[in-house]
Symmetry: C2
Subunit: 413 residues, 2 copies
Amino acid sequence: MSVALRMNDNGRSLLERAQAVIPGGMYGHQDTKLQWPGAPQFFDRGHGPYIWDSEGKRYIDLMCSYGPILHGHHHPAVEAAVMRQMQQADCQNGPAPVMIDLAERFVNVVEHADWAMFMKNGSDATTLALTIARAATKRKKILVAKGAYHGAAPWCTPNMHGIPEEERVHLAYYEYNNIESVEVAIAAADGDVAGIIVSPFRHDAGFDQELVDLRFARHLRTRCDALKALLILDDVRCGFRMAFGSSWEPIGVQPDLSAWSKAIANGYPLAALLGSDKCREAASRVFATGSFWFSAVPMVASMATLDLLASEGGVEQMHDSASAITRGMLDQANSMGLHVSVTGHPTMTYLTFRGENERYWTTKFAAECARLGLYIHPRHNWFVSTAITRELVSEILAITEKAFMAVKKAGAT
Amino acid sequence: MSVALRMNDNGRSLLERAQAVIPGGMYGHQDTKLQWPGAPQFFDRGHGPYIWDSEGKRYIDLMCSYGPILHGHHHPAVEAAVMRQMQQADCQNGPAPVMIDLAERFVNVVEHADWAMFMKNGSDATTLALTIARAATKRKKILVAKGAYHGAAPWCTPNMHGIPEEERVHLAYYEYNNIESVEVAIAAADGDVAGIIVSPFRHDAGFDQELVDLRFARHLRTRCDALKALLILDDVRCGFRMAFGSSWEPIGVQPDLSAWSKAIANGYPLAALLGSDKCREAASRVFATGSFWFSAVPMVASMATLDLLASEGGVEQMHDSASAITRGMLDQANSMGLHVSVTGHPTMTYLTFRGENERYWTTKFAAECARLGLYIHPRHNWFVSTAITRELVSEILAITEKAFMAVKKAGAT
């Protein structure tokens, strides 16, 4: 894998230039230090299911910008809606009327939702959910799954550098899918539980994923009702890949608040917090805002994204192609005697090699896929889009087969 | 002032529809409950110095979307750069190379900056500044001016509903421009001062604004040096309206960290944190990220915005037109015997009537200006853009003159 070698006038590579003016050369979840040596750090272009790095190399995209790209890059229907709105206005002294259209749309599409608020980051939505749960219940404790990612705000960022411990004094931790651990956390909170936040499935970075246990999900709902606490579903990562509605609608468990971002506007910057009437009054009392939260362009992109998903049965299509990919990869690995785990929801799957150290073979496999033109991630779940057609599923599986053969030849078991 | 009466198919107004699906009908700084009865809540269009509300009424815009619009709405040079980038990609699996160009540009333009990080909200930048100051110093206390607005994150949002008091246990408060109060806060922090955050001038919402006292600014710098604490300039609101560089460059006081957003990309969603080498290592250790932080379109918009500002002497032009507006309004008020305060930096001025209760006449004046086609705000500083020409200054002053006459006739003194 070649590093990004594009030179500027002074003959310095992009990576050298980045190192000079960005701390560490790059930061956050897109930092290639989390991938393989030489993973492409900079990208030039995306179109449909394809992306091109800054060296001009093309890949089939199974990361979808870590979630936002739901209908492939630069989908013509989304772009057309965006272009029309851009001729009018984006960031104004107040929202455009499309904000109301979009709030009505979310309320219609998502079963538990009676109202919507919009913002920019997934972290904005999860943080506001905690604030509203606390305002609504006049209590302080929030139950959070150990190791879960709910964003990069001080209360939830996975790295404690510069974060005072008091930021987390009102959090109590449970184990995902472990009812007993929830009860222990509730007891420790001593009557002060404002809410429980939970992801649709366990998608902790770097670990095998785990689908939710139905009894666990129902238990959270029952306990929140009994405690008059609020159940918060963090649908930022999963929203609209598991269901056309909140990701727990297929299992019939309704949260009181749900946080959304990523895929809701096909790459345009938008997050949403949806809530039930139970916490509408509290939501109207808290102060939350941002300079670009009311911009119209991402909202029309979201309308177009939802329209497309509804009219083309996108959730089912993604589920079908994603299931074909995960089944195909498992068959390939099994037939070669390779021991891999393929976990999580098929549309957001994650593949690891069992018994490896520090994701050694998983990283080799991802690097080899990239060399062959398929972009996946060794330490983060992948994302399928509706742009992955049947033909592309075959192309993807042809690449994974070669990549499995290469790592087997190199010693993987 | 007519309310937004545009009806949908069911004959309901926008405001009625918004009330049904958005808590309180609207939230945050663009909520018209902070303005006058009937202030337009929804906007359809912006072009150059003009905006049109959802009823089709046109205004000269002196709020500039609360800051973001620096070169007028839909500036052709910014839009052209945006359109070119949109054909390539926006939100990808990694940044586009323009992220490096933009970081280099900020480092060149802003004197104290050795590195840059980008994010979406001004609150993201100020919050990250605190985290980096704490990581760099391994201390916890941050000094903040009482009543200052540094964003809507839990540590700084002006309304405490749903915010546990522990969020602010490591903040110590001083009075803006009051050196003694800074010393009291430092003493109270007992050797644990990580940093001092300060706005370029005192721009608290609803109050007369106050420019910074040079001795005060220098004192903060001296004290941070002595304590080995970091000086954080919150340039989110003021950045690029007071100087082509950080807003304290004209007075020669350099911060260690500066937070930016609002005007840096002419309305496209972007924030930036700039820092000196002193805290580069700490910045590379903290974890901060967001789904849309690395999107390319707002970054090319920022490049174009800075290019325009540099090539057209935009800061000087805004200062000239803004000074003509503030001087003109003061002359008008004086000649009519009206007692008004016109405070703050001219490009972000704020006008109030002295001796009034609850901004009564200030609100009447803003409503009258709006009726006559000029959009200002009774509880927030205004914003001038480079789109305000000499001719528009005359038009603006013709409107303010009529508005002064109207409120005088109604009883203002």
